[in-house]
Symmetry: C2
Subunit: 351 residues, 2 copies
DNA sequence: CGTTTTTCCGTAAACGTTTACGACAACACA
DNA sequence: TGTGTTGTCGTAAACGTTTACGGAAAAACG
């Protein structure tokens, strides 16, 4: 495919080239490169120098084939159904943390894009069966998650951002405490005198949506407030979703005086709908969002919400995954299987 | 690593298992699987059935090693310097299109996360040198881009989203017409009576920032308006950036009556700053954004801007890349090297 | 100086594929 | 019946690594 130009170092120099160049065997070269003990100090030196000079880097395929490990972890990323145009800003900082921690252990992170609609199952199978990665990281877990069942059944190593009822307790999972957030949001609103509190949520299949709503319900009951189905609406988890369904709860017989939105994008769409109805968030109605991003802070009015620490979250999940992999496990007993991080409310101007 | 359970199909079944199970040679199995002509019709049938039954999928490492090709394309993704917390919603739909088209040609898309700060150079080298992908897709091209120089110099196949002065014309590149957008934005504002038009832009290293600004300058001159450096400010390409620098142009001796923001996030931050100064966008001042996302549509007031068709963009770039790869090239002469797509203004309420 | 240990290195097999080559049978043709 | 052709398959090499093993030389020890 590529014309090999003479003179300059070839794009693909193999361990054989190195060996030939140094007049030693490939075995020695490999051992020198991999830092093994049984190689003379200055032959190692010479090998390292030659490697740099000839621009040598080991061929990953050869390496993986021999070792039976790819040294890479796959993250399955995919547009959410209904989330046509917008993307999920949530993941970039998370992935940054994930990648940073994995890199420290010599692992590559590869993000595998799914096609919209098939909910990753097909792509996931492909990654697993062709052994493209040593482990998988899943996000946006569902309450019953066939991806998790598939992986657990096969004994393929994985970790999840988010909990699920599938797959038992066999895998590390890290989650945010959306239930507490939902509950805290209600508490705060009630303490400010609200009793008719609406919730704009995504599908309950998505586990964070489910958790948010159980927190919401429990808190309402705790305060002796009946849960009014007319104050709850489900929409796609983006601006359009919030825009479409927010009017529905506002048209309820007894209007809500506060709305809790699942996330920033839905809140943005919802606020647009409110504005069109002549209702001003933070003034005529209180607004809180469960998962906020910088968007909430720079919105007018600045939206009160719960800001997750995404990059540390990514780092931590990487650590948990590593601890569950035999090849990287520290002293036994360091395996962390479940963790739920608190979500802190950041009070701003919208409630 | 994984305990092999007896009875159920093993996770890793090789071509040897298949051959043994069918009592034929691995060569025949391979030929049958790969649809070669010299294999009997019903042995092929038997092989296919057995493959399904034993859950066989070819080991990618073995395949790549033998063929000298990985069948995967790498997209380099990385948090922009200064873009700490937020992410880039821009890319998800683009990647969706890219992946869809590549999949149609049997190629996998893998997204490689860079560490913040090193501007991909290190990760890129790693991908290229360890031969993890057959080609690379770059985004956020800079005016002088060392990544492009590196790849072009090596003869490694790649394509870019965005133009650059580096690397000659040796690679396919697809871009949006930011210059025209900048110019159109000015035209529109001038036609509505504005003469003091500010611009909030990112670093001029980023080629789209540069293009936007040349369009802006040219249009101003065309209208006989002098470019006032006091009306131009540079910030990080996120909410915080817009928030920080917008006050600077507002404090100019002669206040602007309109602002053009580079993108949605900067506009959001900028509008926040304006609100804090008691200035209402769309009322006291006109606002246009160059690269908009659904965010602009659902903001209040809805922001006028130029919406790119991201998914088609991804598909198209995939096509251009494929056409440049000998292994996928159609009839000679189908290589498309440069393309610039128009950007259409969507008028909303902010100007 | 002889023996044991240590240090260092080369050899070769193995990982799972693909593919060039040749072999063998069946068949067609004269 | 002999020769050529076609269809089908097995053999073995190759891709670039890593690593178990053994051997030779050097060092240590008595």
């Amino acid at each position: 495919m590529l014309a090999k130009t003479v003179g300059e170092p070839s794009l693909a120099s193999s361990i054989h080239d190195l060996a030939r160049h140094l007049n030693i065997s490939i075995g020695t070269v490999s051992r020198a490169l991999n830092g093994r003990a049984d190689v003379n100090a200055d032959t190692r030196q010479r090998v390292l120098e030659a490697a740099k000079k000839l621009n040598y880097a080991p061929n990953q395929s050869g390496r993986s084939l021999r070792q039976g490990a790819t040294h890479s972890i796959a993250f399955m990323l995919q547009p959410h159904p209904g989330d046509q145009q917008y993307g999920e800003p949530f993941f970039i900082p998370f992935l940054t943390g994930l990648q940073a921690r994995l890199a420290e252990s010599g692992l590559d992170l590869i993000v595998v894009m799914g096609a919209p609609g098939d909910y990753q199952q097909e792509r996931l199978r492909r990654v697993v069966e062709t052994r493209r990665a040593d482990a998988v990281v899943l996000a946006w877990t569902r309450r019953e998650d066939e991806r998790i069942e598939y992986l657990a059944e096969r004994g393929f190593p994985f970790a999840t951002l988010g909990r699920s009822r599938s797959g038992g307790k066999s895998y590390p999972s890290l989650d945010l405490d959306f239930e507490k957030a939902g509950s805290d949001a209600v508490d705060r609103l009630v303490s400010r005198g609200h009793r008719r509190i609406a919730a704009i949520r995504p599908s309950l299949d998505l586990n964070f949506g489910h958790l948010f709503m159980t927190g919401y319900r429990k808190a309402l009951r705790r305060h002796g407030i009946e849960v009014d189905p007319g104050l709850i609406a489900e929409g796609f988890i983006n601006e359009a979703g919030g825009y479409q369904v927010t009017p529905r709860v506002m048209l309820s017989k007894d209007r809500p005086t506060a709305i809790i939105f699942n996330n920033d994008a839905m809140a943005l769409g919802g606020c647009k709908a409110l504005a069109e109805m002549g209702i001003s968030p933070g003034h005529d109605i209180a607004v809180i969002v469960i998962v906020d991003t910088p968007l909430c802070r720079y919105f007018s009015p600045a939206l009160t919400g719960f800001r997750p620490a995404l990059e540390p979250l990514g780092r931590r999940l990487a650590e948990m995954l590593l601890a569950s992999l035999p090849a990287f496990a520290g002293p036994e007993g360091t395996r962390i299987m479940r963790e739920v991080w608190p979500l802190e409310l950041i009070a701003r101007d919208s409630d």
